[in-house]
Symmetry: C2
Subunit: 407 residues, 2 copies
């Protein structure tokens, strides 16, 4: 597997376009469209929030119906959540505009939105945006990059990546983009993520691979504990790489899953480190837990705690907060088994040893914690399972961004 | 029932004292002792955090053993959590110092600590503190007030209250104090709370009343979602009011429970509004939910969401965030049944009506939200159960306080 510069337009057959539709933001692009020259096998995972945005409901119907997917239209600025029937009508109008402009059946068009909840989308601007984009769809790396920028809200950097790997002597490409900075606590998948590949694969296996991979990637990040109404991760596979179609969980399936894991983890970590107001990536690695589920629960609790996040921001080695978060996570364990360390590129420092707090060098602790990526490393000494979760620090800017988001 | 000025020393038989033991803070009192002239029937509720402080383990043993309680010693500054055997030894040394100074059996002495986790208590300072306090125990309102101040950490105001009510023609008094400002997301009870009464009541009924009342008082507040390692709520009843002992759930029991609810709700709300960095009390009232548990879950999710809390701080009527929090709470409901309002002393404004966002007057919304107590009022229209939860806004100061708590 090789990491390459690129994103959703890197695999064969995919094009993208963007436009400044003026939906809410001014002076920037706020719509993106990704299309494929042939109908694609698709899979998706969606928010577990009971309050699902209209576009999430639209995409779930499409993915679960078994129909192919051939285009995705995304807008930023307004989330199309809590918008009733009018919101659902906006999804349909968008898809029908794609059908009219490109001849792609409207019921193979996915739609996704991100932004303010409880506000209606201006349908005329959406459909005009689709018309504008239809005329300038492009292949090539730059088109994908522009798409990853158009879908940003409070994100400060765009998130995209691509990898290539080989199956049956054929080069397969997998690309992806995602966005998300606040209201990030994915519980099925993340805010918005779009993956494309030219692999030929059975739909059920594509879904299974995606559903499995998100458990240790997008579902292991958190910015603020708020599971969005709009979380959507879609993958389209067009089969144009010409490999023998993957129809069972053989070695080729595993090669693909490895590539998928790599791309999803990259995008997930980028989202965590670009959390609203964040100054650093905060990683929690839990090893030797009783079960995989315990390891995930414990590591997520550590990066999810406001007090832990504030301590990471302040470079305060206040390790009791991390133990406290583990304690209320729901996982059962004995504090007398636990060892806890701080770790970064600057070094590794043990601060808690099986129930007993250690004396430690505060200056060294601060040095470790000043690094741009800080890990809390926990050895549970109770089993053999491990998991890693990613978050970010809690800063003044998080409050600033969210105390007046709508204006 | 009548609310009176007072606290833990208001009921007959109770005394308190404080001292500046220099455990961690300088230039302020940091230890309090509450004693009773006779052994008391007692009850308690404790944190559900797996990582329980040494003092919580000490008190649980005492309360569940069936032994009476005759004194409580509290220190602020260091939490005595994650301290292994040395921490437990500190509890015993404190209790034994009380036995030596006052002749009260050490195994009837409760201890409680609050402050930094993972740091050992200086036992010599603790026992010297007990000796100093033993010589100046006092009855009267002022002693209780001083005790409520000595147990503060990041609290900005002390929290105490008392009520009187009548049973069998006897005046019963119930007083209480509590502390807590950060790491507040009680799950069994709150940070530290101490209640005293001169009521004569059976121990099992005292425990049942306490366990029941906390469900809609202390367990309905949150500051930051972090369930502490030290949550402890204790009640001591000395029977000196001279009423006929309460031994069944009769009208007298209900009168007491009503008073207990009043005191616990008062202290809980005071803790929420004094949350770290808070500028206002944030209340969520959910009515017509399918079940009581749903109503509690939904209201707690609203006040627990970082994004909701930041919107309350910014007076931003971004109601989608409240619906989003309800959606990921775990309770099942249909967004098309929900009505949502903002409410305060300035008025009431409907912003969401059964799945549809309403146009509303933004200036009026801001006026409502600028009040010192803001309520998000939600009618689920799906049942008949209701609940209220309390929290506070998320501010720059919360981050500031917690980015460098230890220094």
């Amino acid at each position: 597997m090789e990491e390459i510069k690129g994103g959703v337009t890197s695999p064969k057959g995919f094009k993208a376009a963007v436009t400044a539709a003026g939906i809410k933001y001014q002076g920037r692009t706020d719509m993106a469209m990704v299309t494929c020259e042939v109908p694609c096998v698709c899979a998706g995972t969606f928010t577990s929030n009971v309050v699902k945005a209209a576009c999430v409901q639209w995409d779930m119907e499409l993915v679960y119906s078994g129909r192919p997917m051939q285009a995705v239209v995304v807008n930023s600025g307004i989330a199309n959540a809590c918008t009733g029937k009018e919101g659902f009508d906006a999804c349909e109008a968008t898809a029908k505009a794609v059908e009219k402009a490109l001849g792609v059946p409207f019921d193979t068009v996915a739609v996704a939105s991100t932004g303010v909840i409880g506000m209606q989308l201006p349908v005329d601007k959406l459909t005009a945006g689709v018309d504008a984009m239809a005329g300038k769809l492009e292949t090539g790396e730059n088109a994908g990059t522009e798409a990853s920028k158009a879908i940003m809200t409070t994100d400060t950097v765009n998130k995209e990546t691509a990898v290539t790997f080989e199956i049956d002597g054929k080069k397969i490409t997998l690309g992806g983009m995602s966005k998300g900075s606040g209201m990030i606590h994915p519980n099925m998948c993340t805010m918005l993520g779009f993956l494309t590949t030219d692999l030929d694969i059975d739909k059920a296996l594509l879904q299974e691979a995606l559903s499995d991979v998100i458990k240790d990637t997008f579902n292991m990040i958190t910015v603020d504990g708020d599971t969005s109404t709009n979380d959507t991760l879609l993958i389209m596979a067009d089969g144009l790489a010409g490999n023998k179609k993957i129809t069972e969980k053989d070695n080729n399936y595993n090669l693909f899953k490895e590539a998928l894991f790599h791309v999803c983890r990259y995008l997930a970590k980028r989202m965590a480190s670009d959390g609203e107001g964040a100054t650093k990536l905060f990683e929690a690695k839990v090893i030797n837990a009783k079960s995989k589920e315990d390891a995930r629960t414990l590591s997520r609790a550590i990066v999810g705690s406001n007090l832990s996040k504030a301590a990471i921001y302040g470079c305060d080695a206040n390790f009791g907060r991390f133990l406290c978060a583990m304690g209320y996570s729901g996982a059962k364990f004995d504090q007398n088994d636990v060892e806890l360390y701080f770790e970064s590129t600057e070094g590794k420092l043990k601060v808690f040893d099986k129930g007993v707090p250690l004396e430690f060098d505060e200056d060294f602790a601060v040095k470790i914690m000043k690094a741009p990526e800080v890990t809390v490393f926990v050895d549970m000494n109770e089993g053999s399972e491990e998991a890693t979760a990613w978050g970010c620090d809690l800063t003044y800017d998080y409050v600033k961004i969210n105390a007046d988001y709508r204006s």
